[in-house]
Amino acid sequence: MEDQTPPFFERGPSPLARFTFFALLSIVLLFADARLRYLEHIREAVSVALYPLERAARAPGAALIRLATFFTAQSTLMEENEALRLKTLELSSKAARMDALAAETRQLRKLLSASTRSDLTLQLGEIVYAKRDPFTRKVVVDRGSQHGVRAGQAVIDESGLVGQVTRVLPLASEVTLITDKNQAVPVQNLRTGARSVIFGVGRDDVLELRFMPVNADIKVGDTFVTSGIDGLYPAGFPVATVANVDRSATNAFARIECSPSAGVNRGSLVLLVLENRALPEKPPEQEPVTKSVKSKKKGS
């Protein structure tokens, strides 16, 4: 029918055709991003272009906060100062003892000819905003590749592990919180020393220990710290405490719910941890393994 319209009524492709074109384009992009991760550079470029806009959007809120801090009462400040001074005293005495212990440990390790523990480089960052995507748990920290941040760094606050840097942009970086559904952290039970992996479930303040046998030695109140065997998270940061253990026989595994130690969705100051550790080289990839199996078979 439309073939007979005179050329001055020509309207180009139909809406449905245009929709199909752009929808297919979007789906191709979705696949390229979700499955193949081809588009990180484009994302970086666009995010830099958007940075001034984001700053502009945050400006009114930031100004309000600054105004509020300006009008903080003298008495509150004095109280806070006093509390902080006490805290400093307490912590510095602890730190002095820690130094002595660390020296002792180093000496003992040397006697045992075990490798020495590595140093940690800490960098202070501020959480500028939470990512506005309701499907994931991510925050943006105001330190980026310009400040030497690298993807994979652990992020902590004063009481434990908060998350991990998953995407580094030039002026900011994206931190995936440990409560994100796709985030897993290798941990170790402080009481028993048993190692396992703790997962986020996509809800605030809940972490889950999966695939633990029903009779696993885990009690409510047990603390899990990072085990450090993954080469990413430095060992010894508190991650979670067990909140609830469900050992119903209907499930193959015990359901163990934990609550994170750190204020994962509170607080605004975090530390980005970089561990200067010389890891042994990764074992070679698949092929040599199959070869050795074959040669063993030949030998036997």
């Binding site: 929709f19 752009f22 991003d33 588009l39 502009a56």
Partner: protein, 174 residues
């Protein structure tokens, strides 16, 4: 203001200024960038989708499909979403608005709002399906509250965005 536009033929509107359209869309984009977290994340309206709906319904041929798609890509980066999630949603919005624009404008403000609500919900649903296909958890029914808040803003939009196009009062007429 309860009268439908079809019933007020006496007033001929001025042509829309493209810079005004671009300006409102840019403002909506900045509004979308406002920091939010927790519950606010869920009921926060998508201003860009709302403004796109308005301009698409009033000038479907001026906007086309490319602009919504590009705005969707910009949103994808800004939200840290999957590349193409918002782009797909806004493309579907463009299709719905383009096909329904004559129909929607015939109605009073309340049925208009309901039409817009349905369109915005479909966009949200498409984005939800995309994310769940990728493996995300269902974020809860509050997820569908954002379009409701946005639709409540629709009457306000129809009153304010038309203002620059009103003809200047004629001095010769009394």
């Amino acid at each position: 203001m309860n009268q439908s536009r079809a019933e007020q033929p006496t007033e001929i509107l001025l042509p829309v200024n493209p810079f005004f359209v671009a300006g409102t869309l840019a403002a909506a984009f900045v509004l979308n960038l406002l920091p939010a977290s927790g519950q606010a994340l869920l009921w926060r309206p998508d201003f860009v989708a709302l403004l796109l709906t308005y301009w698409l319904i009033h000038y479907p041929r001026r906007l086309g499909f490319l602009l919504p798609w590009l705005l969707g890509l910009a949103m994808d980066v800004a939200e840290g979403a999957l590349f193409g999630q918002y782009a797909l949603g806004y493309t579907a919005l463009a299709l719905m608005a383009t096909l329904a624009h004559r129909r929607v404008l015939m109605f009073d403000i309340v049925p208009q709002t309901i039409h817009v609500l349905v369109m915005l919900q479909v966009v949200k649903l498409i984005m939800l399906l995309v994310r769940m296909a990728e493996g995300a958890e269902f974020p809860g029914w509050l997820y569908f509250l954002g379009p409701v808040v946005a639709a409540l803003l629709w009457p306000l939009l129809t009153v304010t965005l038309i203002l620059p196009q009103k003809p200047k009062p004629d001095a010769d007429r009394v």
